[in-house]
């Protein structure tokens, strides 16, 4: 079930670093229904500009309090307006949308590989899996200020990588992943982040035949599968043709995606 909550109360909003914000919205139905990997579609302004909603992954939920939490980065018009809402204001949201992560079939150890704000949906996933699995979160960012603090992730087993070496492993999260794989081979990897990073994770997972799910991004209009605007090409293996990121995803198995098709951007 998808919900439209035109007036979701902003229960909290704090800056976690340069241009990054952690937002707590009160929306009990959505908190109840959401599964990791799903996203909210958010109206950022009040007028007709910016017009379209913005998709933001659910980073955590507190079903008890009925809260949904997001971690987002200011990159343009919409997210900049969003960053200006204050506790006590309301936001117009739709959710939970999309197909979430699929649970691990077998095995004990799970790696979460997140680049930048791509870590957001993995936090939710890690929190859900933690009671049953051994969850190792590997989150990368440009510098210390771009990482989400453990007091917000609530993840116990979290390793960080920073490009500038200001915190944790010095290098990209891919470097960190390779480092970790030397000592431990996960039964499943979940990844979210920039395209370049995802391709690296795909390569590594393929090499070691580790099942992998990725969360993709695309510009969206409807967010509910109606407009066919967010399409990407499926791999031949998965039947070819277009898949809609918003409705058929945003989470896909790595082998469902035609990573190298010329028509794909």
């Amino acid at each position: 079930m998808k919900y439209h909550v035109p007036q979701a109360l902003v229960a909290g909003h704090e800056q976690t670093g340069g241009g990054l914000f952690f937002l707590v919205l009160h929306a009990p139905e959505i908190a109840q229904a959401a599964v990791p990997g799903q996203f909210l579609h958010i109206r950022c302004g009040k007028g007709d500009d910016p017009l379209l909603r913005r998709p933001i992954s659910i980073c955590r939920v507190d079903k008890g309090k009925g809260n949904v939490m997001l971690w987002y980065q200011v990159v343009g018009k919409g997210t900049s307006l969003m960053s200006q809402v204050r506790q006590g204001d309301c936001l117009d949201i739709v959710g939970p949308l999309g197909r979430g992560f699929e649970p691990v079939a077998a095995g004990k150890t799970v790696f979460l590989v997140g680049g930048g704000v791509g870590s957001a949906p993995l936090v939710f996933l890690g929190n859900e899996l933690a009671p049953e699995k051994e969850v190792v979160a590997l989150f990368g960012g440009a510098s210390e200020g771009m990482l989400l603090h453990p007091c917000l992730t609530r993840l116990e087993n979290c390793e960080y990588a920073t490009d500038d070496g200001s915190f944790g492993y010095s290098g990209t999260v891919i470097g960190l992943l390779e480092e970790q794989m030397k000592s431990k081979t996960p039964d499943m990897i979940y990844a979210c982040g920039p395209q370049g990073m995802l391709r690296e994770v795909v390569r590594i997972a393929e090499e070691k035949s580790i099942p992998l799910q990725v969360s993709l991004e695309a510009r969206m209009a409807c967010g509910v599968g109606a407009c066919l605007g967010c399409s990407f090409l499926r791999s031949k293996k998965s039947g070819g043709g277009w898949a809609r990121v918003c409705q058929d995803g945003p989470v896909f198995w790595d082998w469902e995606v035609a990573w190298d098709d010329g028509e794909q951007q």
Binding site: G229, W242, Q247
Partner: protein
């Protein structure tokens, strides 16, 4: 203020091309999938009619991504008529619309006149389909669409040919990218269209100054949303004054006020496209708002409002 001395319930029903609609609000083709996407937000039966995505004879892959770009108060799309083809639509999608509780109109498209005829003929076999919206105005397919939509003779030719292959009412969907919209509308009316839909998207484009490339992979796309509303209202105003058949107005409708603007300009019914993406409860809210407007202004039937602005203007 509701008229408190009367118990009047305004009549919202309208008739388009012989299709009875319980209210004047329909969905715009291509923005509502095959009717399944918004069922969590409202019941299809609340709508005046549902218009589904453009259908072609064969499955179409559509254009490569990115297919969307946002502009000021508008958006560009270059979907390119992606659809599973008429056979699959007949088998998989139409049966589930049988219980929709509202008339189902199918938007049809093609690259040749034969394509249109073929789709029309196949769809006529379905009990579910109550009318065909003939899309002679898609800016996103190279052959067909745009050429049919910009020459009155060619538009008329499509309508005449399709008419021979179906007894379903035909609604001609016109392109706004023309010098004289009334000429186009008169041509399709003359050719036998039972109604016209105005407007399809305006041809536009946007460039990313960082990459120095068009934002859409397909370069150009169709502009929709509130940005285009003044152009759409103008065309509805112009066309509704010269046609005998009804006009379905669309282009940037997001609120009851917007819908009423089109109705006052001469639209008998309206369709909601981009507005739906922004507010998933757009259609039911518009229907409620039109009803409230009628009540407040003691209008007994919405049909009385159709073209009221130019009828008034003509009186002086």
């Amino acid at each position: 203020m509701t008229a408190n001395n009367s118990e009047m319930v305004p009549l919202l029903g309208v008739e388009i091309a012989g299709i009875r609609m319980k209210n004047p609000v329909m969905t715009a083709s291509g923005t509502f999938g095959f009717g399944e996407a918004y069922t969590d937000f409202f019941e299809l039966s609340e709508l005046g009619a549902v218009v589904i995505k453009g259908v072609t004879p064969e499955p179409r892959k559509g254009n490569p991504p990115p297919r969307l770009a946002e502009t000021s108060a508008g958006m560009l799309n270059s979907i390119g008529l992606e659809n599973p083809g008429v056979e699959k639509v007949l088998e998989e999608y139409l049966p589930s619309l049988e219980q929709a509780g509202t008339p189902v109109i199918v938007n049809i498209a093609g690259s040749t006149v034969e394509d249109y005829c073929l789709v029309a003929e196949r769809l006529s076999a379905s009990e579910v389909v109550k009318g065909l919206e003939v899309n002679i105005s898609c800016p996103n397919v190279k052959a067909g669409g745009i050429a049919f939509g910009s020459k009155p003779e060619m538009a008329a030719q499509v309508i005449r040919a399709v008419k021979k292959h179906t007894s379903l009412p035909l609604i001609a969907k016109l392109s706004p990218n023309v010098t004289d919209i009334t000429e186009m509308a008169l041509a399709v009316e003359e050719a036998g269209a039972s109604a016209v839909s105005l407007i399809n998207t305006l041809l536009g484009m946007a460039i990313d100054v960082r990459t120095r490339k068009p934002k859409l992979k397909n370069v150009m796309g169709g502009l929709s949303g509130p940005a285009v509303r003044p152009v759409a209202v103008r065309m509805v105003w112009q066309v509704s004054q010269v046609l005998k058949v009804p006009v379905i107005g669309m282009g940037g409708i997001a609120t009851a006020e917007d819908a009423l603007e089109f109705i006052l300009a001469g639209a008998t019914a309206v369709a909601v496209g981009t507005g739906q993406f922004v507010n998933p409860r757009c259609c039911p809210e518009i229907i409620a708002g039109i009803k409230a407007y009628c009540e407040e202004n003691e209008v007994s039937a919405v049909a009385e409002l159709v073209g009221a602005a130019w009828k008034e203007e003509a009186r002086g």
